[in-house]
Amino acid sequence: MDETLLFSPEPTSKALFRLAEQALADGAQALMILAADGNRYDPVELSSWLQALPVPVCGGIFPQIVFGRMHHETGCIVHGLKGPVRIIETSGLSSSQADYSAELESALQDLPSPQTVFIVVDGLAQRIAAFLDGVYDMLGSDPVYFGGGAGSLDFQQRPCIFSNKGLLVDHAQMVLIDRPTRVGVRHGWQKHAGPFVVTQAERNRIISLDYQPAFELYRTLVDADCGDSINSENFFEIAKGYPFGMERAGGEVVVRDPITVVDGTLVCVGEVGPNSIVFLLKGQPEALIAAAESAALAVKDAGDAPVIMIDCISRVLFLEARFEEELAAVAAQLDGRALFGALTLGEIANRGDGCLEFFNKTMVLAGS
C-alpha cells in the first residue's frame, strides 16, 4: 500500500494544515496525525479545522514526536492512510461510573474483528486500564493492539486527541485497521526493592504502601539509593529513574511511572489496583537501550511499511543524551525502513500473546 508519510518540524498550525492538504491530494482516505506538545496549537482553531476535514482523522498531541531517527519537541507528522479505517471514540475516560464494555458493545456490534487496533488515550485520564479491559473484552485476543497516551509533560489535562469532532480531552480513540501487524514490547527496567503491598489506592493514585503513607516509604527507598533528597519540587527529576513494577506470572514486569506527589500520595500514569503487589524498579541506560533493540528485533521481519514507535517520554528524560543511542539501536535493526512515532504518557500493547495492558516507560514498536 502506497501511503503518504509527511513531517514538518515547524510548530505552526499552518504547517500541519499544509501537510494534511498534501496527504489528501495524494489520495489519503484517512489521516493519522502525531503532533508535538511544543507546538502549542490553538485548540479552537484546530477544532474548527478538524471538524471540516473531509476524511476520518485520528492521532494526538504528545510530549514529543519521532521522525527521521530523531525526536522533536515541535512539529507534526501526517500519515495518509489508504486502506479502510474505522475510528471509534469513547468519552468519560476518568468517569468512575463508566462501564466501558457496555459502551463499546453497542459501538462494535456487527463489526468484524479487526486485525490491528491503534489506540490513543488521554494519558492523564484516570481509568485507562478499565477502558482497555473493555476494549479487550469486546474485541478479544485475536487483534494486535498498540498505542499510547497523549498529553502534555506539564501534567495538566487538556484537549489532546485529534478527531473529526475536534480536539478532545478525557477521551479514548480506537482505530480499527484491517491489516496484520506485529509488535515488540520491552522496557529493560530491573527490580530494585520490594515487594510492597499497595494497601490503599484510588484509580491512578497510590495512597499507602505497606500500611505507610506512599510517599514516605518511596522517599526512604529512593533517597537511600540516589543519595539525594526527593521532594515535591524535584519529584519527577528523581522519580523518572525509580518507577514501580507490577510482576506477572511469567516474570514480566509492567512499569508504573509516578509523576507527581499530591498530599503524600503518588500520582501515576495509569491505574494501580488496591492490594496489588509492586516492586521499586531501577534502570541502567544500557539495559534500556538493549531492551529497545530487542523490541525492534520482534518487528524486524513484519513487512516493509513504516514502523511506528510508541516510546515513553520518561525514557527520554531518563536517558537524556543517550536516548539518541536508543533510537539508533532501533533504527539499526530496521534495515532502513521508515520509523516514526510519538513519545507518550503511557504505552498500550497486548504483547501479541496476553491481555491488553497500559504500560509506562516501555518501548512499543509496531510493524506491518
Binding site: 474483528s113 478479544g140 506470572a249
Partner: protein, 554 residues
Amino acid sequence: MNPLDPSRLSLLSLQYELALLIGQSPRLSAMLRSFMPSALKLLDCRAGHVWLDTGTGTAAHCFSFPAREKATLSEDTQLAQLIEAHQHRPDAAHALTREQGRQLYLLPMAGSGFVILVREGTPLESRLLTALAPILARLDTACRACLEFERTEQLRAHAEEARLAAEEARLAAEAANRAKSEFLAVMSHEIRTPLNGILGMAQLLELSPLAADQRECVSTIQQSGTTLLSLINDILDFAKIEAGRLELEARHFALRDEIDALLGLIRPLAQGKGLALTLHYENQLPPNVIGDSTRLRQVLWNLLGNAIKFTAHGQVALEVRQLSCDARCTQVHFVVRDTGIGISPEQSQHLFKAFSQADSSTTRQYGGTGLGLAISASLVEAMGGAIKLESEPGKGACFDFALELRVSDTPASPQVSGKPSAARLALERSTQSKLKVLIAEDNAINRLLAIRLLQQGGHTLETAENGRIAVDKAQQGDFDLILMDMQMPELDGVDATRAIRTLPLRRQPHIVAMTANAYDADRKRCLEAGMNDFIAKPFSAEQLFLALDKVPRN
C-alpha cells in the same frame, strides 16, 4: 525467621493479590468481571472462562473474558476433550497444549464448576497451579454466595411484584367500592327527592276533604311510598356496611321504653294477620343502658317484621332476658320466636347473605329485598353479638342474639321524636307562635310541599331557588328559620349556611338542613357548617313540625 526466597515470595504475592480480587461485588457477573481481567494479567494469560453449576446439577458456561471469545467455545474440540477429562477426574487440574504453543488449563472449583485459562508461551509452573487451588476454592465460595444473593434478590423482586399487584388490586377494589357507595348515595338522593314530593303531597291530600275511594287511593300511595323508603334505607345501610362506614352511637336510653315503643309500632302488623304478639321482659334488667338504640330497634323491627311476615297462624314472641350483670355492664339476650313456616338447614346457610331469602319463591310470595337479615346480622356483629337461628320447616323459627350493654346511671331523656303524640303537640305549639321562614329549595315540588305544610301553621314564608338567593334574602329579611336544601345550584346549602353565618345580622336565623342526602356524614357536614338541625327527606309533616318546635322564639 528465614526470609523467603524470591520465587516463593512471588508466589505468595500472587496468591495474596488474586485472593483480594475475589468477591468485589455480590452479583456473579460483576464479581467475575472485577476478578478475571486483573487475574489474567497477573497470570499472563490471554483468556479465562468460567463454568458453574447454578443448581441444575451440571456445570454450564457462565462467564468469559474477553466476552468476544465465548462464541468460539462450542466449536472448540480440544476444549471439549478437557471437559471430558474433568468429568472423569473432577478434582484434578487438566492441561493441554495446542498448536503454536497455546495452552489450555482446566482448574476445578471445589466441585461446583471449573475455570479454563488460555495462555501462550511458556507453560504455567506446576507449583503455581498448586498455589491457584486455594484461590479457586475461594472463588467457588464467592460464586455460590453470588448465586444465592441473586436468587434471594429474585425472590425479593417477585415478592415485591406480588405486593405491588396486591396493593394495586386493593386500591382498585377500594376505588370500585367508593364508586359504588357514591353511586348509591347519588341514587338514594335522586330517589328520595321525588319520593319526598309523593309522600308529602299524599299527606296534604289526606288533610283535604276526600271521598272514601279517593282516601283509599291516597292511603295506598302513602303505604307504597313508605315501603319504597324502607327499601332505600336498607340499601343505604347495606352500602354503609359494605364500605365499612357504619358508625354506632353510644346513647343513654331506657331499654324497656324502647321495646314498648317498638312493639307499639309493630303490633298493628301482627293484629292485621290475627297473630298474637307477646313480650317476656325480665324486670331485673337495668332500666337505663348505653348503646345505639336506633340500630337495636332496627334489628328487632326486622326480626319481628320477618316473623310476622312468615307466620300465618299462632304467635310471635319477643323475649328480653338478662344473662349476666355487674355494676358496669349487662348481657342482654334477645329472642324472637314464631310459629311460622320455618327454615330448613340448607336454606339457613345463606339466609344472612345479602340479597338472599330462603328461596327465590319467597321473594315473589312475601316481597322484600333480602337485605334485612344481612343488615341485621352485620349490625349485631358491629354491636359485639351474633345472630343465631334455630328452626325446622313447618315448626317455626327462633332468632336470638346477646349484646353487652353498658349500664347507665343517667336516666334517659324521654324520647319525643317519631311519637305521634309529641308531633301533634309540636304542631299545636308551632301554630301558636308564627315564624318568618325562608325555604331554600331548588326542587319546585318540594318547595311547594314545604309551603303547604307550613301554611297550616300560618307562618310567613319566603322562598329561594338556590343558595345565592338564600344568602341575599337572609341578609335583607329577619328570618326566624331557614329550611336549607343541601344540594342546590350556584351555591349549595352548606356553603350558603357558612356565608349566612358570617353576615353581620341583628340575629342569626335557626337553620335546618332539609335534604335527601341521608348519610350520617352529611349530617355532620351540615352541623359543622353552622346549621342547627337536620331533617332527612322524605320527611313527614310531624318531623317538620318537631323541627319548628326547636326554633328559639323571641
